[in-house]
Symmetry: C2
Subunit: 202 residues, 2 copies
DNA sequence: GTCTATAATGAGATAGAC
DNA sequence: GTCTATCTCATTATAGAC
């Protein structure tokens, strides 16, 4: 580990922390667990960061920057119509949750830890803005790919889609009920499609 | 504190724990903080419970049993029509979140802590069932108060309302944007009202 | 600059006096 | 039955040898 610039150590540790958090949760992301994941000695931690919360701040930045945020775009283009595209995108997200529930739960835990920690309390706002931006781009791409437009501002609809996504995710995490999630996904699709310009059948 | 039956100690401690959790979060609910809140000596804790997780299980039971779950019913009856009733109920819930954000966040934290703790991992299912039951009752009361019916099973609609509620709550907790929450609330109302039997204008 | 060794704190749990 | 005093452990953070 000799001679690694401090900046690289910081990102390496932040990435390692995200891996630990995604696997075992925020509470399990102790400095020991993080340096073990990164293959570094314990003291390297405080060489790169002054505190654990400073590191968690970087972890949220990583999430905000879209580390691992997915490639749903193809779904929007392959679908025969906008409704199918919307449904397929919700379904793809749900599949992601089912494939790695701990990771999705970890995103909630990060937000909530930040909200409880005064120096980090401002970060969730940016985290959610980042989510909305991603969703907004998908909404615009989807509509234009199927010659439709949305009947309300995309930012507003993106916020609604984000709320639906969070709600469906929490529901599945608590219940692990695939059928119920499938029905929620259908209702969410209807709710979104109610806001196309050409009515609900575009 | 002399001569208090063990069962009463358990509920007193669980209530105290819920108070601490609602105020400061799950992570802050140490055995010391809990007994301080309850005005008991530390040893009383392990006299009543074998472990901290056993207590947290009781805390979730308390939440499931509807401790503090509110009295929205009047809103449904006072409103001039079903749409207003639905909107007013969402709005009342949002007011509750804004009045005590820490408490609402604590409910999420409890769920997530339980999901991460194998012996407690089954509790969130019951917690969410309890939420859906409450919402289902409100939906039935609302529809019958305004001579309408829902066009899909009430349980399914209740799950959808719960997802919307969770999503709006998380959104507001992250952003603290009252106007955005207001718009979400309006969209959520539309989405629910799309599932009345007599069309969307009942 | 880097890491071993350790300090300082606060946690959950318990032994044993009353 | 109840509670004081203590144990053991894991944590964050740091001092100081290389």
């Amino acid at each position: 580990m000799s001679r690694i610039p401090a900046a690289e150590r910081r990102t390496a540790l932040a990435r390692a922390a995200l891996a630990v958090i995604a696997r075992d949760g925020v509470a399990a992301a102790t400095t020991r667990a993080i340096v073990a994941e990164a293959g570094m000695p314990l003291a390297s931690f405080h060489y790169a960061f002054t505190s654990r919360d400073e590191l968690l701040s970087d972890v949220i930045e990583l999430v905000v920057a879209g580390e691992g945020s997915a490639t749903f775009a193809s779904l929007l283009l392959d679908a025969p119509d906008l409704r199918s595209a919307v449904r397929a995108t919700f379904a793809a997200y749900l599949d992601l949750v089912r494939a790695d529930p701990a990771r999705e739960q970890a995103m909630f835990e990060l937000t909530q830890h930040a909200l409880r920690t005064p120096p980090l309390a401002g970060l969730p706002r940016r985290q959610y803005e980042s989510y909305r931006n991603l969703i907004g781009k998908l909404l615009i791409a989807g509509a234009s790919a199927h010659d439709t437009a949305w009947s309300l501002p995309v930012d507003e609809l993106a916020g609604f889609v984000l709320a639906l996504t969070d709600g469906i995710t929490l529901s599945w995490l608590a219940d692990r009920d695939d059928d119920a999630a499938e029905r929620l996904l259908e209702l969410a699709t209807d709710a979104v499609m109610a806001h196309t310009l050409n009515g609900a059948h575009a």
